[in-house]
Protein backbone atom coordinates (compact mmCIF):
# COMPACT_ATOMS: atom_id res chain seq x y z
CA UNK A 1 0.00 0.00 0.00
CA UNK A 2 1.44 3.31 -1.01
CA UNK A 3 1.16 6.57 0.87
CA UNK A 4 -1.17 7.75 -1.86
CA UNK A 5 -3.39 4.77 -1.28
CA UNK A 6 -3.58 5.53 2.40
CA UNK A 7 -4.50 9.11 1.70
CA UNK A 8 -7.19 8.04 -0.76
CA UNK A 9 -8.56 5.65 1.80
CA UNK A 10 -8.63 8.44 4.36
CA UNK A 11 -10.41 10.67 1.90
CA UNK A 12 -12.94 7.92 1.31
CA UNK A 13 -13.46 7.41 5.01
CA UNK A 14 -13.96 11.11 5.48
CA UNK A 15 -16.42 11.21 2.62
CA UNK A 16 -18.37 8.34 4.05
CA UNK A 17 -18.75 10.15 7.32
CA UNK A 18 -16.21 8.67 9.67
CA UNK A 19 -15.05 12.15 10.61
CA UNK A 20 -11.71 13.84 10.31
CA UNK A 21 -9.28 10.95 10.35
CA UNK A 22 -5.65 11.56 9.70
CA UNK A 23 -4.37 8.06 9.17
CA UNK A 24 -6.67 5.23 8.24
CA UNK A 25 -5.51 1.59 8.33
CA UNK A 26 -4.51 0.55 4.79
CA UNK A 27 -6.97 -2.36 4.94
CA UNK A 28 -9.80 0.12 4.39
CA UNK A 29 -9.47 0.03 0.64
CA UNK A 30 -10.96 2.46 -1.86
CA UNK A 31 -13.69 0.02 -2.83
CA UNK A 32 -15.34 -0.12 0.60
CA UNK A 33 -18.09 2.38 -0.16
CA UNK A 34 -20.93 2.50 -2.63
CA UNK A 35 -19.39 5.44 -4.44
CA UNK A 36 -15.71 5.93 -5.09
CA UNK A 37 -13.86 9.19 -4.78
CA UNK A 38 -13.22 10.05 -8.39
CA UNK A 39 -11.91 13.07 -10.19
CA UNK A 40 -15.18 13.20 -12.13
CA UNK A 41 -16.97 13.63 -8.84
CA UNK A 42 -14.74 16.50 -7.84
CA UNK A 43 -14.96 18.09 -11.26
CA UNK A 44 -18.74 17.96 -11.01
CA UNK A 45 -18.56 19.84 -7.71
CA UNK A 46 -16.32 22.50 -9.25
CA UNK A 47 -18.67 22.89 -12.20
CA UNK A 48 -21.62 23.20 -9.88
CA UNK A 49 -19.79 26.01 -8.05
CA UNK A 50 -19.01 27.71 -11.31
CA UNK A 51 -22.67 27.67 -12.34
CA UNK A 52 -23.70 29.08 -8.99
CA UNK A 53 -21.67 32.23 -9.41
CA UNK A 54 -24.39 33.69 -11.62
CA UNK A 55 -26.79 36.35 -10.34
CA UNK A 56 -29.69 33.95 -10.80
CA UNK A 57 -28.54 31.93 -7.80
CA UNK A 58 -29.00 34.49 -5.02
CA UNK A 59 -30.01 33.00 -1.72
CA UNK A 60 -32.77 34.32 0.51
CA UNK A 61 -30.54 36.43 2.77
CA UNK A 62 -28.92 38.06 -0.25
CA UNK A 63 -32.34 38.80 -1.73
CA UNK A 64 -33.37 40.26 1.66
CA UNK A 65 -30.31 42.52 1.59
CA UNK A 66 -31.22 43.78 -1.86
CA UNK A 67 -34.83 44.39 -0.85
CA UNK A 68 -33.60 46.15 2.31
CA UNK A 69 -31.39 48.62 0.49
CA UNK A 70 -34.02 49.24 -2.20
CA UNK A 71 -36.62 50.04 0.49
CA UNK A 72 -34.28 52.47 2.29
CA UNK A 73 -33.17 54.20 -0.90
CA UNK A 74 -36.69 54.17 -2.31
CA UNK A 75 -38.18 55.66 0.83
CA UNK A 76 -35.49 58.34 1.01
CA UNK A 77 -36.27 59.31 -2.55
CA UNK A 78 -40.00 59.25 -1.89
CA UNK A 79 -39.58 61.58 1.10
CA UNK A 80 -37.47 63.87 -1.08
CA UNK A 81 -40.03 63.89 -3.89
CA UNK A 82 -42.89 64.62 -1.46
CA UNK A 83 -40.95 67.38 0.34
CA UNK A 84 -42.50 66.14 3.55
CA UNK A 85 -40.85 66.82 6.93
CA UNK A 86 -42.48 63.81 8.60
CA UNK A 87 -41.37 61.45 5.83
CA UNK A 88 -37.86 62.87 6.05
CA UNK A 89 -37.64 61.92 9.71
CA UNK A 90 -38.93 58.42 8.99
CA UNK A 91 -36.24 58.20 6.32
CA UNK A 92 -33.63 59.25 8.92
CA UNK A 93 -34.83 56.54 11.29
CA UNK A 94 -34.60 53.92 8.51
CA UNK A 95 -31.08 55.01 7.60
CA UNK A 96 -29.83 55.04 11.18
CA UNK A 97 -31.35 51.68 12.02
CA UNK A 98 -30.76 49.78 8.78
CA UNK A 99 -27.76 51.33 7.03
CA UNK A 100 -26.16 52.43 10.29
CA UNK A 101 -26.50 49.93 13.06
CA UNK A 102 -27.73 46.88 11.18
CA UNK A 103 -25.64 46.92 8.00
CA UNK A 104 -23.01 49.53 8.86
CA UNK A 105 -22.97 50.13 5.15
CA UNK A 106 -22.32 53.75 4.26
CA UNK A 107 -20.41 55.40 1.48
CA UNK A 108 -16.94 55.80 2.89
CA UNK A 109 -13.61 57.27 1.89
CA UNK A 110 -12.43 53.67 1.46
CA UNK A 111 -14.91 53.32 -1.41
CA UNK A 112 -13.19 56.27 -3.05
CA UNK A 113 -9.81 54.57 -2.47
CA UNK A 114 -11.13 51.36 -3.99
CA UNK A 115 -12.66 53.12 -6.99
CA UNK A 116 -9.42 55.03 -7.59
CA UNK A 117 -7.56 51.74 -7.61
CA UNK A 118 -10.14 50.13 -9.87
CA UNK A 119 -10.71 47.62 -7.09
CA UNK A 120 -14.43 47.09 -7.39
CA UNK A 121 -16.13 44.24 -5.53
CA UNK A 122 -17.50 41.31 -7.50
CA UNK A 123 -21.02 42.13 -8.66
CA UNK A 124 -22.55 38.80 -7.68
CA UNK A 125 -21.84 39.31 -3.97
CA UNK A 126 -22.12 43.08 -3.79
CA UNK A 127 -25.40 44.04 -5.44
CA UNK A 128 -26.48 46.13 -2.40
CA UNK A 129 -23.15 47.95 -2.54
CA UNK A 130 -23.59 48.72 -6.24
CA UNK A 131 -27.14 49.92 -5.59
CA UNK A 132 -25.96 52.26 -2.82
CA UNK A 133 -23.00 53.66 -4.76
CA UNK A 134 -25.03 53.85 -7.97
CA UNK A 135 -27.89 55.69 -6.27
CA UNK A 136 -25.46 58.07 -4.55
CA UNK A 137 -23.61 59.03 -7.73
CA UNK A 138 -26.69 59.24 -9.95
CA UNK A 139 -28.74 61.22 -7.42
CA UNK A 140 -25.83 63.61 -6.84
CA UNK A 141 -25.55 64.29 -10.56
CA UNK A 142 -29.31 64.73 -10.91
CA UNK A 143 -30.26 66.62 -7.71
CA UNK A 144 -27.22 67.20 -5.54
CA UNK A 145 -26.01 65.78 -2.22
CA UNK A 146 -29.23 63.88 -1.54
CA UNK A 147 -27.12 61.10 -0.05
CA UNK A 148 -25.71 63.43 2.60
CA UNK A 149 -29.09 64.90 3.35
CA UNK A 150 -30.98 61.73 4.16
CA UNK A 151 -29.25 58.44 3.37
CA UNK A 152 -25.99 58.67 5.27
CA UNK A 153 -26.74 57.27 8.72
CA UNK A 154 -24.29 59.60 10.45
CA UNK A 155 -25.81 62.66 8.80
CA UNK A 156 -29.28 61.38 9.66
CA UNK A 157 -28.17 60.87 13.26
CA UNK A 158 -26.78 64.39 13.68
CA UNK A 159 -29.82 65.91 11.97
CA UNK A 160 -32.11 63.95 14.26
CA UNK A 161 -30.00 65.06 17.26
CA UNK A 162 -30.42 68.62 16.11
CA UNK A 163 -34.20 68.25 16.47
CA UNK A 164 -34.01 66.64 19.88
CA UNK A 165 -31.43 68.92 21.50
CA UNK A 166 -32.54 72.31 22.85
CA UNK A 167 -31.80 75.01 20.29
CA UNK A 168 -30.52 77.45 22.94
CA UNK A 169 -27.31 75.41 23.13
CA UNK A 170 -26.60 76.02 19.50
CA UNK A 171 -23.90 78.33 18.24
CA UNK A 172 -24.24 79.47 14.65
CA UNK A 173 -20.82 80.29 13.22
CA UNK A 174 -20.80 83.65 11.42
CA UNK A 175 -21.16 83.42 7.64
CA UNK A 176 -17.58 84.38 6.89
CA UNK A 177 -16.23 81.66 9.17
CA UNK A 178 -18.74 79.11 7.94
CA UNK A 179 -17.66 79.60 4.32
CA UNK A 180 -14.01 79.19 5.22
CA UNK A 181 -14.61 76.13 7.36
CA UNK A 182 -16.60 74.52 4.53
CA UNK A 183 -13.37 74.37 2.51
CA UNK A 184 -11.73 72.35 5.26
CA UNK A 185 -13.41 69.15 4.08
CA UNK A 186 -11.82 69.49 0.63
CA UNK A 187 -8.47 69.85 2.35
CA UNK A 188 -9.16 66.70 4.36
CA UNK A 189 -10.23 64.81 1.21
CA UNK A 190 -7.05 65.89 -0.57
CA UNK A 191 -4.85 65.13 2.42
CA UNK A 192 -6.32 61.68 2.98
CA UNK A 193 -6.04 60.82 -0.74
CA UNK A 194 -2.41 61.90 -0.85
CA UNK A 195 -1.72 59.91 2.31
CA UNK A 196 -3.45 56.83 0.90
CA UNK A 197 -1.83 57.01 -2.53
CA UNK A 198 1.61 57.40 -1.01
CA UNK A 199 1.34 54.80 1.76
CA UNK A 200 -1.44 52.46 0.58
CA UNK A 201 -2.80 52.51 4.13
CA UNK A 202 -6.56 52.06 4.11
CA UNK A 203 -6.95 52.23 7.85
CA UNK A 204 -6.65 56.00 7.95
CA UNK A 205 -10.43 56.05 7.50
CA UNK A 206 -10.80 55.26 11.20
CA UNK A 207 -9.46 58.64 12.17
CA UNK A 208 -11.16 60.80 9.55
CA UNK A 209 -14.59 59.14 9.51
CA UNK A 210 -16.90 58.49 12.44
CA UNK A 211 -19.03 56.01 10.47
CA UNK A 212 -17.26 52.99 11.91
CA UNK A 213 -18.95 53.82 15.24
CA UNK A 214 -22.08 52.04 14.01
CA UNK A 215 -20.15 48.79 14.15
CA UNK A 216 -19.47 49.55 17.85
CA UNK A 217 -15.92 48.44 17.15
CA UNK A 218 -13.17 50.93 17.82
CA UNK A 219 -10.11 51.63 19.91
CA UNK A 220 -9.73 54.19 22.71
CA UNK A 221 -8.43 56.94 20.41
CA UNK A 222 -11.29 56.41 17.96
CA UNK A 223 -13.93 56.50 20.70
CA UNK A 224 -12.38 59.62 22.22
CA UNK A 225 -12.38 61.41 18.88
CA UNK A 226 -15.97 60.43 18.10
CA UNK A 227 -17.11 61.55 21.58
CA UNK A 228 -15.48 64.95 21.08
CA UNK A 229 -17.12 65.16 17.67
CA UNK A 230 -20.58 64.31 18.98
CA UNK A 231 -20.27 66.78 21.87
CA UNK A 232 -19.20 69.49 19.43
CA UNK A 233 -22.20 68.58 17.24
CA UNK A 234 -24.49 69.51 20.13
CA UNK A 235 -23.32 73.10 19.76
CA UNK A 236 -22.62 73.35 16.04
CA UNK A 237 -25.27 71.56 14.00
CA UNK A 238 -24.13 69.09 11.36
CA UNK A 239 -20.56 70.01 12.16
CA UNK A 240 -19.03 66.89 10.62
CA UNK A 241 -21.07 66.97 7.40
CA UNK A 242 -20.49 70.66 6.79
CA UNK A 243 -16.81 71.00 7.59
CA UNK A 244 -15.08 67.66 7.89
CA UNK A 245 -16.61 64.91 5.76
CA UNK A 246 -14.33 63.82 2.94
CA UNK A 247 -17.10 61.82 1.24
CA UNK A 248 -19.28 64.94 1.38
CA UNK A 249 -16.42 66.88 -0.20
CA UNK A 250 -16.16 64.35 -3.03
CA UNK A 251 -19.93 64.48 -3.58
CA UNK A 252 -19.72 68.28 -3.36
CA UNK A 253 -17.28 68.22 -6.27
CA UNK A 254 -19.65 66.00 -8.29
CA UNK A 255 -22.63 68.17 -7.40
CA UNK A 256 -21.13 71.04 -9.39
CA UNK A 257 -22.57 69.15 -12.38
CA UNK A 258 -26.03 68.82 -10.84
CA UNK A 259 -28.78 68.90 -13.44
CA UNK A 260 -31.97 69.75 -11.53
CA UNK A 261 -31.19 72.63 -9.22
CA UNK A 262 -33.40 74.40 -6.74
CA UNK A 263 -35.42 77.14 -8.39
CA UNK A 264 -34.85 80.73 -7.30
CA UNK A 265 -37.35 83.57 -7.70
CA UNK A 266 -36.44 87.09 -8.73
CA UNK A 267 -37.31 88.13 -5.17
CA UNK A 268 -34.51 85.94 -3.81
CA UNK A 269 -32.11 88.75 -4.82
CA UNK A 270 -33.14 90.69 -1.73
CA UNK A 271 -35.07 88.28 0.50
CA UNK A 272 -33.11 86.58 3.26
CA UNK A 273 -35.72 84.16 4.67
CA UNK A 274 -34.26 81.02 3.09
CA UNK A 275 -30.68 82.06 3.79
CA UNK A 276 -31.58 82.28 7.47
CA UNK A 277 -33.56 79.04 7.41
CA UNK A 278 -30.80 76.99 5.76
CA UNK A 279 -29.21 74.74 8.35
CA UNK A 280 -26.29 74.00 6.08
CA UNK A 281 -25.10 77.50 5.34
CA UNK A 282 -25.59 76.73 1.66
CA UNK A 283 -27.43 79.93 0.69
CA UNK A 284 -25.45 83.08 0.10
CA UNK A 285 -27.80 85.89 -0.93
CA UNK A 286 -29.42 85.01 -4.23
CA UNK A 287 -27.08 82.07 -4.82
CA UNK A 288 -27.32 78.48 -3.58
CA UNK A 289 -23.96 76.86 -3.22
CA UNK A 290 -24.69 73.45 -4.76
CA UNK A 291 -21.63 71.88 -3.18
CA UNK A 292 -22.94 72.68 0.31
CA UNK A 293 -26.62 71.99 -0.34
CA UNK A 294 -27.85 68.57 0.76
CA UNK A 295 -31.37 68.95 -0.60
CA UNK A 296 -32.99 69.07 2.84
CA UNK A 297 -36.05 70.80 1.28
CA UNK A 298 -36.24 73.51 3.96
CA UNK A 299 -35.95 76.37 1.48
CA UNK A 300 -38.15 74.64 -1.07
CA UNK A 301 -40.89 74.30 1.49
CA UNK A 302 -40.68 78.07 2.00
CA UNK A 303 -40.86 78.68 -1.77
CA UNK A 304 -44.07 76.70 -1.93
CA UNK A 305 -45.59 78.34 1.13
CA UNK A 306 -47.72 81.18 -0.23
CA UNK A 307 -47.91 82.78 3.21
CA UNK A 308 -44.17 82.84 3.85
CA UNK A 309 -42.42 83.27 0.53
CA UNK A 310 -42.07 86.88 -0.58
CA UNK A 311 -42.57 85.83 -4.18
CA UNK A 312 -46.17 84.80 -3.54
CA UNK A 313 -46.87 87.69 -1.19
CA UNK A 314 -45.77 90.16 -3.87
CA UNK A 315 -47.86 88.34 -6.51
CA UNK A 316 -50.92 88.54 -4.27
CA UNK A 317 -50.41 92.23 -3.57
CA UNK A 318 -49.79 93.29 -7.17
CA UNK A 319 -53.31 92.80 -8.61
CA UNK A 320 -54.80 94.47 -5.50
CA UNK A 321 -52.52 97.47 -6.01
CA UNK A 322 -53.58 97.64 -9.67
CA UNK A 323 -57.31 97.52 -8.80
CA UNK A 324 -56.78 100.20 -6.17
CA UNK A 325 -55.12 102.47 -8.73
CA UNK A 326 -57.86 102.01 -11.37
CA UNK A 327 -60.79 102.73 -9.07
Amino acid sequence: MTVAGTILACAMASYLGTGPVLVEPPSQAVETGQSTLSLEDLDALLEEDEAEESVASLNSSEVADIIGIVVVLGFAFFSFARKSVALKYISFALSIAYLGFYKSNLVSIVNIFAILQGNLPGFRYSIPWYLLIGFTVVSTVLWGRLYCGRICAFGALTQALDRILPSRLRIDPPAWLDRRLAYLKYGILGGVLVYFLSTGDFLIYRYVEPFWMFTLNGNAVMWTLVTILLIATVFVRNLYCRYLCSVGAALGLISNFTVFRIKRWGECQTCKICEKACEWGAIDGPKISVAECVRCDDCERIYHDEKKCVHWIVLRKKPRAQTAASS
Binding site: C10, L39, L45, N119, P121, W129
Partner: protein
Protein backbone atom coordinates in the same frame (compact mmCIF):
# COMPACT_ATOMS: atom_id res chain seq x y z
CA UNK B 1 25.25 64.68 -18.96
CA UNK B 2 26.67 63.64 -15.62
CA UNK B 3 23.22 63.85 -14.04
CA UNK B 4 21.81 61.69 -16.83
CA UNK B 5 24.48 59.04 -16.28
CA UNK B 6 23.76 59.09 -12.55
CA UNK B 7 20.04 58.58 -13.22
CA UNK B 8 20.74 55.64 -15.53
CA UNK B 9 23.06 54.14 -12.92
CA UNK B 10 20.44 54.47 -10.18
CA UNK B 11 17.80 52.83 -12.37
CA UNK B 12 20.23 50.09 -13.43
CA UNK B 13 21.00 49.29 -9.81
CA UNK B 14 17.49 49.64 -8.41
CA UNK B 15 15.64 47.45 -10.92
CA UNK B 16 17.57 44.22 -10.21
CA UNK B 17 17.44 45.02 -6.48
CA UNK B 18 13.67 45.36 -6.56
CA UNK B 19 13.30 42.25 -8.70
CA UNK B 20 15.58 40.24 -6.44
CA UNK B 21 13.84 41.38 -3.28
CA UNK B 22 10.43 40.70 -4.75
CA UNK B 23 11.51 37.46 -6.33
CA UNK B 24 13.07 36.16 -3.15
CA UNK B 25 9.93 36.81 -1.13
CA UNK B 26 8.13 34.49 -3.54
CA UNK B 27 10.65 31.66 -3.19
CA UNK B 28 9.85 28.72 -0.96
CA UNK B 29 11.54 29.34 2.37
CA UNK B 30 10.83 33.05 2.50
CA UNK B 31 7.22 32.43 1.59
CA UNK B 32 6.86 29.96 4.44
CA UNK B 33 8.52 32.52 6.71
CA UNK B 34 6.10 35.18 5.53
CA UNK B 35 3.01 33.13 6.37
CA UNK B 36 4.43 31.08 9.23
CA UNK B 37 2.11 32.50 11.86
CA UNK B 38 -0.94 31.60 9.77
CA UNK B 39 0.47 28.21 8.79
CA UNK B 40 0.91 27.35 12.46
CA UNK B 41 -2.66 28.37 13.14
CA UNK B 42 -4.24 26.28 10.40
CA UNK B 43 -1.92 23.28 10.68
CA UNK B 44 -0.91 23.22 14.36
CA UNK B 45 0.29 19.60 14.26
CA UNK B 46 2.87 20.36 11.58
CA UNK B 47 6.43 21.13 12.53
CA UNK B 48 7.78 21.60 9.03
CA UNK B 49 6.32 23.53 6.11
CA UNK B 50 7.12 23.39 2.42
CA UNK B 51 6.00 25.90 -0.17
CA UNK B 52 4.75 24.35 -3.42
CA UNK B 53 4.74 26.24 -6.70
CA UNK B 54 2.69 25.48 -9.77
CA UNK B 55 -0.69 26.42 -11.10
CA UNK B 56 -2.13 26.42 -7.58
CA UNK B 57 0.65 27.47 -5.21
CA UNK B 58 0.17 26.25 -1.68
CA UNK B 59 1.95 24.97 1.42
CA UNK B 60 2.29 21.51 2.86
CA UNK B 61 2.75 20.86 6.52
CA UNK B 62 4.61 17.80 7.82
CA UNK B 63 5.17 16.31 11.21
CA UNK B 64 8.04 14.27 12.64
CA UNK B 65 10.40 15.28 9.88
CA UNK B 66 13.96 14.19 10.46
CA UNK B 67 16.92 15.15 8.30
CA UNK B 68 16.19 14.09 4.73
CA UNK B 69 12.79 12.66 5.50
CA UNK B 70 10.04 15.27 5.29
CA UNK B 71 7.88 13.21 7.60
CA UNK B 72 4.16 12.61 7.54
CA UNK B 73 1.90 14.95 5.63
CA UNK B 74 -0.43 16.69 8.07
CA UNK B 75 -2.23 18.83 5.58
CA UNK B 76 -2.26 21.50 2.92
CA UNK B 77 -2.60 25.21 3.46
CA UNK B 78 -3.47 27.73 0.78
CA UNK B 79 -4.44 31.31 0.24
CA UNK B 80 -7.75 31.73 -1.55
CA UNK B 81 -6.09 34.19 -3.94
CA UNK B 82 -3.41 31.67 -4.95
CA UNK B 83 -6.09 29.20 -5.95
CA UNK B 84 -7.83 31.80 -8.09
CA UNK B 85 -10.74 32.88 -5.92
CA UNK B 86 -10.35 36.51 -5.03
CA UNK B 87 -12.52 38.02 -2.31
CA UNK B 88 -13.10 41.70 -2.88
CA UNK B 89 -14.43 43.26 0.25
CA UNK B 90 -15.86 46.74 0.62
CA UNK B 91 -12.43 48.29 0.72
CA UNK B 92 -9.92 45.97 -0.82
CA UNK B 93 -9.02 42.37 -1.35
CA UNK B 94 -9.43 39.96 1.54
CA UNK B 95 -6.99 37.08 1.78
CA UNK B 96 -7.71 34.06 3.94
CA UNK B 97 -5.65 30.98 4.58
CA UNK B 98 -7.37 27.62 4.68
CA UNK B 99 -5.88 24.48 6.17
CA UNK B 100 -6.96 21.16 4.66
CA UNK B 101 -6.28 17.65 5.89
CA UNK B 102 -5.33 15.08 3.23
CA UNK B 103 -8.79 13.58 3.74
CA UNK B 104 -10.56 16.70 2.52
CA UNK B 105 -11.52 18.21 5.86
CA UNK B 106 -10.85 21.85 6.65
CA UNK B 107 -8.74 22.32 9.77
CA UNK B 108 -9.13 26.07 10.19
CA UNK B 109 -9.45 29.36 8.38
CA UNK B 110 -7.48 32.50 9.23
CA UNK B 111 -7.77 35.96 7.79
CA UNK B 112 -4.38 37.00 6.41
CA UNK B 113 -5.20 40.49 5.14
CA UNK B 114 -8.27 42.58 5.11
CA UNK B 115 -9.01 46.27 5.25
CA UNK B 116 -12.70 45.99 5.86
CA UNK B 117 -14.01 49.15 7.40
CA UNK B 118 -17.49 47.98 8.17
CA UNK B 119 -17.52 44.35 7.24
CA UNK B 120 -14.46 43.59 9.29
CA UNK B 121 -16.39 42.88 12.41
CA UNK B 122 -17.77 39.83 10.64
CA UNK B 123 -14.99 38.58 8.41
CA UNK B 124 -12.37 38.42 11.12
CA UNK B 125 -14.66 37.21 13.86
CA UNK B 126 -13.82 33.84 15.33
CA UNK B 127 -17.54 33.11 15.24
CA UNK B 128 -17.41 33.24 11.44
CA UNK B 129 -14.02 31.58 10.93
CA UNK B 130 -14.58 28.73 13.35
CA UNK B 131 -17.58 27.51 11.42
CA UNK B 132 -15.27 26.02 8.82
CA UNK B 133 -13.29 23.85 11.17
CA UNK B 134 -13.91 20.15 10.52
CA UNK B 135 -16.12 20.85 7.52
CA UNK B 136 -15.64 18.58 4.50
CA UNK B 137 -14.91 19.68 0.99
CA UNK B 138 -18.23 18.39 -0.26
CA UNK B 139 -20.52 19.91 2.29
CA UNK B 140 -22.72 22.63 0.89
CA UNK B 141 -20.93 25.50 2.66
CA UNK B 142 -23.36 28.23 1.75
CA UNK B 143 -24.27 31.23 3.86
CA UNK B 144 -27.82 30.98 5.09
CA UNK B 145 -27.74 27.25 4.49
CA UNK B 146 -25.09 25.52 6.57
CA UNK B 147 -22.92 28.58 7.25
CA UNK B 148 -24.21 31.39 9.46
CA UNK B 149 -23.82 34.86 8.02
CA UNK B 150 -22.96 37.16 10.87
CA UNK B 151 -25.88 39.54 11.01
CA UNK B 152 -25.23 42.61 8.97
CA UNK B 153 -22.33 42.02 6.70
CA UNK B 154 -23.58 39.29 4.42
CA UNK B 155 -21.87 40.66 1.33
CA UNK B 156 -18.34 40.00 2.44
CA UNK B 157 -19.28 36.87 4.33
CA UNK B 158 -20.95 35.31 1.28
CA UNK B 159 -18.02 36.19 -0.94
CA UNK B 160 -15.56 34.78 1.59
CA UNK B 161 -17.56 31.60 2.11
CA UNK B 162 -17.74 31.03 -1.62
CA UNK B 163 -13.99 31.58 -2.03
CA UNK B 164 -13.19 29.25 0.88
CA UNK B 165 -15.45 26.53 -0.53
CA UNK B 166 -14.25 26.85 -4.11
CA UNK B 167 -10.56 27.08 -3.31
CA UNK B 168 -10.88 24.06 -1.01
CA UNK B 169 -12.58 21.97 -3.68
CA UNK B 170 -10.06 23.03 -6.29
CA UNK B 171 -7.12 22.30 -4.00
CA UNK B 172 -8.51 18.93 -2.97
CA UNK B 173 -9.17 17.96 -6.56
CA UNK B 174 -5.58 18.77 -7.53
CA UNK B 175 -4.32 16.86 -4.52
CA UNK B 176 -6.40 13.76 -5.30
CA UNK B 177 -5.27 13.95 -8.94
CA UNK B 178 -1.67 14.04 -7.79
CA UNK B 179 -2.21 11.01 -5.54
CA UNK B 180 -3.92 9.02 -8.28
CA UNK B 181 -1.10 9.81 -10.71
CA UNK B 182 1.48 8.80 -8.12
CA UNK B 183 -0.11 5.39 -7.67
CA UNK B 184 1.74 2.59 -9.43
Amino acid sequence: MRRFTAAIAIIAISIPTVLLTYGRSQVGGARVEQYLEHLRTVLPEADHFVSKDGEYPHFRGYTRSTGDDVGTLVGLAYLNSDVGHVITGYASEIVVMVGLRPVGTITAVTVVTHNEPYGYRSIDLARFRDQFTNRRYRERLRVGDDVDGISGATITVSAATSAIRRSTRRMFREFVKEQIEAQP
